[in-house]
Amino acid sequence: MKGIQLDLISEDKLDGMTSMEKVRLILDEVRNGKILVLEKGLTPSEQNKLIELTMTEIAPDDFSGIEIESYPVKHNDNLFSKLLGKTTLKTRLTVIGPASQLKTIKKDRDLISALVSP
């Protein structure tokens, strides 16, 4: 059966990886034509690393970059965090694929609608 491979990567697996391991895994898999769904998403600094590395790998007629879509981060500002004066950011589900195959149709705070082409 022909088709596009879709890998859904759990929060637990992502938690056990370093930032660079995540970025490398994403780029390698996406360059192999896979679509990845990350349960937890990437931190802002990991997103920066991914953008930087993607730019270094773009090559004419070979790789034009990635399509990445994630929901805006959530603020984890429960009472305990407020008392400590700390609010942490919670990253959310993220979809990443080759720019040549994945196209976002619509996105809002809680919905990502995308088109995948072979």
Binding site: P44, N48, I51, E52, D108
Partner: protein
């Protein structure tokens, strides 16, 4: 009462004394949002100079441009900024997109290569800023990954962010859509091209980054 007043005055003096003399502010956004048009307007209004050329072709700005010591006075507040006009952030750059604007293949490939370097430079600048003016095209969907990434970065670093909802001179613009997407950040609807609400933006800049 007197002690509190005295403490308050001392604190104000303390704040003024240690207040940062200059804030380094980056102008960020996706390609073609109007970053350089806005940078040009700010620089022209306060120094009489210009920052860089603008174009309908994406990634016209492929090197960050910096202008130091731009003093903005608004409503009694004054702030001196180092302004960095950054290349448009993107996660994909396809040289075919430039060919659609009539460029040759060779020229398009060169522009694409320079654009990738510009994106890397824009990302690296995020580490060295005191705040960001995020320029969004008010005619477009606000939930682009570029917007989400820049806002996430600023929130993680707890740095001030001001949203300029640009292109309100166009009939399909909707700054309200941007506000409902990112209500936690101040927003000024502007037309960098025609100068609409630009004084309102200067007031917000002076209040926010001063």
């Amino acid at each position: 009462m007197g002690i509190i007043k005295s403490l308050k005055m001392n604190f104000t003096w303390f704040k003024k004394f240690f207040k940062k003399k200059r804030a380094r502010i980056g102008i960020y956004g996706p390609p073609n949002a109007g970053k350089t048009t806005l940078a040009n307007r700010i620089i022209r209004d306060w120094t009489g100079d210009a920052m860089g050329s603008v174009s309908a072709i994406p990634h016209e700005t492929r090197r960050a441009r910096r202008r130091e010591g731009v003093t903005i006075d608004s409503n009694g507040s004054s702030v001196t900024l180092d302004i960095i006009d950054t290349p448009g952030l993107a996660t994909k750059i396809d040289f075919h997109d430039f060919m659609a604007f009539g460029m040759s293949e060779e020229e398009s490939k060169r522009r694409a290569k320079e654009a990738t370097e510009g994106v890397i430079e824009a990302v690296k600048w995020l580490d060295d800023l005191d705040g960001v003016i995020l320029v969004m095209d008010a005619t477009e969907d606000p939930y682009t990954q570029v917007n989400v990434t820049v806002i996430g970065n600023m929130e993680a670093r707890k740095l001030p962010l001001l949203i300029a909802a640009n292109k309100i001179d166009l009939p399909t613009s909707s700054p309200a859509r941007i506000h409902s997407a990112f209500p936690q950040h101040p927003l000024v609807p502007i037309s960098a091209l025609e100068g609409q609400n630009i004084d309102m933006l200067y007031k917000e800049i002076a209040d926010h980054f001063g």
